[in-house]
Symmetry: C2
Subunit: 146 residues, 2 copies
């Protein structure tokens, strides 16, 4: 069994919830994805097994609480997620022009943050750093058109 499946099974058992066929399929679909995904994209991957969109929506928060996925970027009207197991936390660079999302490592900032957390007596469970602006490509386009 994969690590993420073991973790999910464990999470569910701890609170008397059941690992159903639907949940297992949805979990695996989420870990199939190599980019950000939303509920509908996930549903596309599992609807062949007759799994409803409602079940996808019901499973998503379980995966978040189990520490397996997280909300990635809040842009536009749909929630978009990404899986995080064995995936170091990172910075999202969101271009406001072409909507592209780049990622960089967060590790260089971690010590400073953990320091601050200690001062605040705050237990960190999730860090989300996103930066909006113009990517180099769009910046070039803007300059050209002037």
């Amino acid at each position: 069994m994969q690590e993420h499946e073991a973790q999910f099974r464990n999470y569910l058992k701890n609170r008397g919830l059941k690992l159903t066929r639907s949940r297992a399929l949805i979990l695996n679909a989420a870990f199939t994805m190599h980019e950000h995904f939303d509920a509908e994209k996930l549903h596309d991957l599992v609807k062949h097994a007759n799994i409803s969109l409602a079940t996808v929506y019901r499973t998503l928060p379980l995966l978040v609480n189990a520490g397996l996925i997280q909300l990635a970027v809040h842009s536009g009207r749909r929630d978009r997620f990404e899986h995080i197991l064995g995936h170091p936390q990172h910075v999202h660079w969101l271009c406001e022009n072409c909507k592209a999302v780049m990622e960089t490592d967060l590790s260089s900032l971690l010590p400073a943050l953990e320091n601050e957390a200690k001062a605040l007596k705050f237990d960190i469970s999730q860090i989300s750093l996103s930066i909006k602006g113009l990517c180099w490509k769009c910046k070039a386009d803007v300059n050209e058109s002037q």
Copy 2:
């Protein structure tokens, strides 16, 4: 005239938009607020002047684009904003238990970020760093109840 009003007037004029009574009132209401606010909270402050919720929703993106307010935290289903003029960027610490939001200064992390931005040739327009977890108070409660 306040600085934020001047900046808004300027933004609007640059694109042939009009500074109306409604927009001025909404802008001032936003700068009245000392905490995060959503569209409805803003509407509460201006509806006495017969301003509709639709107008509030139409004005919000103008204020964002004018660099006067920004999306603060995406938690729950409503967009929450905060004004940013003369307000240094900060970190949001969001307690997952009591939903309280604390803020700390972002300046200690800025140099590292600006460095990375330079490497990526990325023009930063807005930084949003939010950290979820447990605040000291809730952490204490959790320990007590064990």
